[in-house]
């Protein structure tokens, strides 16, 4: 049965309509994976040499024990953003004579095929075989292996469980985000340390190896939890039989913007009522944590904005970018309807600008809590905000007129590559490069604030030119309308 499922999967991949796009994405992802694997092998074998150099004041075992949980904390965050929910479109199989158990087993087995589940082998096992085996003996080494594999399995299914839950419940996502944020803050302010905790856990285990059996128990618990959730929701979620009363809503605050406001309200409903666009907008909230990685005290003290500008622009503009990269295609199912109705292209584009400005403003306001680290960051965010609403919005909408790929927004939410094309990759390059190009000369001359001002000024000029851009993009859309509509109809 498993092999039949696998062969169907393979067929659905090779016979899909936008095969070209998905193969290209797979190849790019494949290269990244290969690169990281090579790095992992290098680190794994080099660990006996690296560890004493990085942590000169402590013994190698303490360092090794310390990094394990650290690694898995990062692993968890990375998985949260990158790991796929394995989907086999199960609807065609549900009514057939296939026990549910088998379908769930397949989904669970498929979930293990992830690069995240290969890295620990290369990272940790060499050290375990080289060092621990010879010092502490085979039993301890075996326990280390069991513990590490168990945490890996735990992360694997816990992330999937969270993802499956969070799709159905936005509140869940927000709570999870808050918890991760609190831990990041505690680590940042040195209130707690994952390293110390990790060392404690694993040195205890090295002393009393039987303690290591706790890990597989925890992993099994989450595995069972995940399977049970799947079993219960195998139809409820996928077949959408959850019937709740839908109500009409009216966003009064958008009414003052006339026709453009109504179109923005229409799109706001689109975002809130579909999984995939909602997910891509709310991803922006996850990226609000980027600041913790990039805003280091020495950078802030030295005004070296060049090292932080990427994070600032990414945080304030991510929702625009992640939603905007598929622009117009979100409406592919009713694009014909928009064309034949009395909608002016200019109003249509203005509505998009309005929506982007609102999204950007909200994320910028949320990101302003970094002002507690230093008020300088608020200036940085202001510059990034103006750059985003002035320039990024124009860029996104301009490139949207080249996007002819249909998206079925009712399909699965996360990490869905349908509708991906060259446009999405091209989008990233100017988005990141331009602020650097503007800032760099000022950075070299040691005039960081002048650099920020220039970025902000650039954004402002583009903002004042918005009328011009609206006309320009509306013209382009008018030219491209047949091509876009045709692509969306497929």
């Amino acid at each position: 049965m498993l092999s039949t499922f696998l062969s169907h999967q393979r067929k659905s991949f090779w016979r899909s309509r936008n095969k070209g796009g998905s193969i290209a994405t797979q190849i790019i992802i494949g290269f990244f994976m290969l690169y990281f694997l090579v790095v992992a092998v290098g680190i794994g074998f080099g660990m006996t040499i690296f560890l004493p150099k990085i942590f000169p004041n402590q013994n190698v075992m303490t360092s090794f024990n310390g990094i394990i949980l650290y690694y898995f904390a990062f692993d968890f965050l990375m998985r949260l953003q990158l790991q796929d929910i394995p989907t086999l479109s199960i609807i065609p199989y549900l009514h057939l004579k296939i026990p549910k158990r088998k379908i769930i087993n397949f989904l669970n087995a498929k979930a293990l095929f992830s690069a995240f589940n290969i890295w620990p082998f290369f990272l940790f096992f060499p050290f375990i075989f080289i060092e621990i085996w010879s010092v502490d003996g085979a039993l301890v080494a075996l326990m280390y292996i069991i513990a590490i594999l168990s945490i890996m399995v735990f992360n694997n299914y816990f992330v999937l469980y969270l993802k499956r839950k969070s799709i159905t419940n936005v509140l869940f996502t927000l709570v999870g985000l808050a918890i991760v944020g609190i831990f990041a803050a505690l680590e940042y302010y040195k209130v707690i340390s994952i390293m110390v905790a990790s060392n404690y856990v694993f040195s205890e285990m090295a002393d009393k190896p039987y303690l290591g059996l706790v890990f597989p128990v925890i992993a099994s618990v989450i595995f069972i939890l995940n399977s049970n959730y799947l079993r219960r929701n195998l139809y409820v979620e996928e077949l959408g039989s959850k019937q709740e009363k839908k109500v009409s809503t009216d966003y009064a605050f958008l009414n003052r913007f006339g026709k453009a406001g109504e179109l923005a309200a229409l799109e706001l409903k689109l975002i809130l009522r579909h999984k995939r666009p909602r997910y891509s907008v709310f991803m922006g909230l996850f990226f609000l944590l980027y600041g913790y990685l990039f805003y280091k005290a020495p950078f802030i003290a030295a005004d070296s904005f060049s090292k932080m500008i990427f994070a600032a622009i990414f945080m304030t503009g991510f929702s625009v970018l992640s939603y905007g990269q598929f622009m117009f295609a979100w409406q592919s199912s009713h694009f014909d309807g928009l064309l034949i109705n009395k909608i002016d292209f200019k109003d249509y584009i203005k509505g998009k600008f309005l929506l982007f400005t609102i999204m950007c403003t909200i994320t910028t306001i949320l990101a302003s809590f970094y002002g507690f680290l230093s008020p300088k960051l608020l200036l940085l965010h202001l510059a990034a905000y103006l750059y985003n609403i002035g320039f990024c919005t124009v860029l996104v909408l301009y490139l949207a007129t080249f996007n002819y790929k249909r998206i079925d927004i009712t399909r699965s939410a996360s990490f869905n590559f349908q509708g991906m094309g060259a446009t999405q990759w091209i989008l990233m390059i100017p988005f990141i490069l331009i602020p650097y190009l503007i800032y760099l000369p000022f950075g070299y001359l040691n005039r960081p604030y002048l650099g920020l001002m220039t970025i902000a000024f650039f954004g402002l000029i583009m903002l004042f030119m918005r009328g011009y851009w609206v006309n320009y993009i509306a013209k382009r859309l008018e030219l491209q309308r047949y091509k876009i509509a045709e692509g969306f109809r497929e």
Partner: protein
């Protein structure tokens, strides 16, 4: 002439899907487009509505080329398929949105919808569902009612009778007949009975070309039946 089609062609690869040399439709006519699958009916309608670019020729609406400006949208309403519906809205939201494009207030829209209680059969309004959750037949009703609400001078419907229950088919025929005179209607249908009943002119197409174009009378249905059974 409210609608004129001149030398209209659509070619995909080496296949000519639509090829209509000259077609004139006068204001107030109710025209039925009849033809088998693949005759080019939908493609033709899409060109009337400026959704696809003709390979050659032009469509003039009140003398203006539909490709060149948007004036025709002020007096043309249409429903071809579900692609015209914004399916994540409730029907009320959709009607209000379409109404707002024609400067109708929320009150205007609800007053208008009140007349359609019978047509909707109590299933559409206040149902607590999004349009996408309705059956195809009910989605059709929403699309047709939204089109009629715009009080258009030109109405274009693609297979309006498909997927409708018998009661609604009869009600729709009544609605369309009542509107005749002040509105130019252009519908396509596979149902010869309905189309001869509603329309006063029939255009028969095959492989993209107009084969017959005539006024309906008592013999029309027989003629069409014999044509299609041949």
């Amino acid at each position: 002439m409210i609608l004129e089609v001149k030398n209209l062609q659509k070619v995909y690869g080496d296949k000519t899907v639509v090829n209509i040399e000259d077609l004139q439709i006068a204001a107030g006519e109710t025209v039925g487009l009849v033809g088998n699958n693949g005759a080019g009916k939908t493609t033709f309608f899409r060109m009337l509505l400026d959704l696809i670019r003709p390979t050659n020729g032009e469509v003039l609406s009140k003398g203006e080329n539909v490709m060149q400006n948007d004036n025709w949208k002020n007096y043309t309403a249409s429903f071809l398929d579900e692609g015209f519906l914004i399916d994540y809205l409730t029907p009320e939201e959709y009607f209000i949105f379409i109404g707002s494009l024609h400067d109708l207030s929320v009150a205007d829209v609800s007053a208008y919808l009140n007349q359609y209680g019978e047509f909707f059969n109590g299933e559409i309004l206040n149902s607590g569902k999004y349009i996408r959750d309705f059956s195809k037949g009910n989605q059709n009703k929403v699309g047709i009612a939204a089109a009629l609400m715009q009080k258009p001078e030109i109405l274009i419907l693609d297979e309006p009778f498909a997927n409708l229950d018998p009661t609604t088919q009869i009600r729709l025929k009544k609605l369309l007949k009542e509107q005749t005179g002040n509105m130019t209607t252009f519908i396509s249908s596979h149902d010869l009975n309905h189309v001869t009943d509603v329309c006063n002119r029939i255009i028969l197409v095959e492989k993209g070309q107009v084969i017959k174009d005539f006024k309906t009378d008592e013999n029309t249905l027989k003629e069409l039946e014999s044509y299609f059974s041949a």
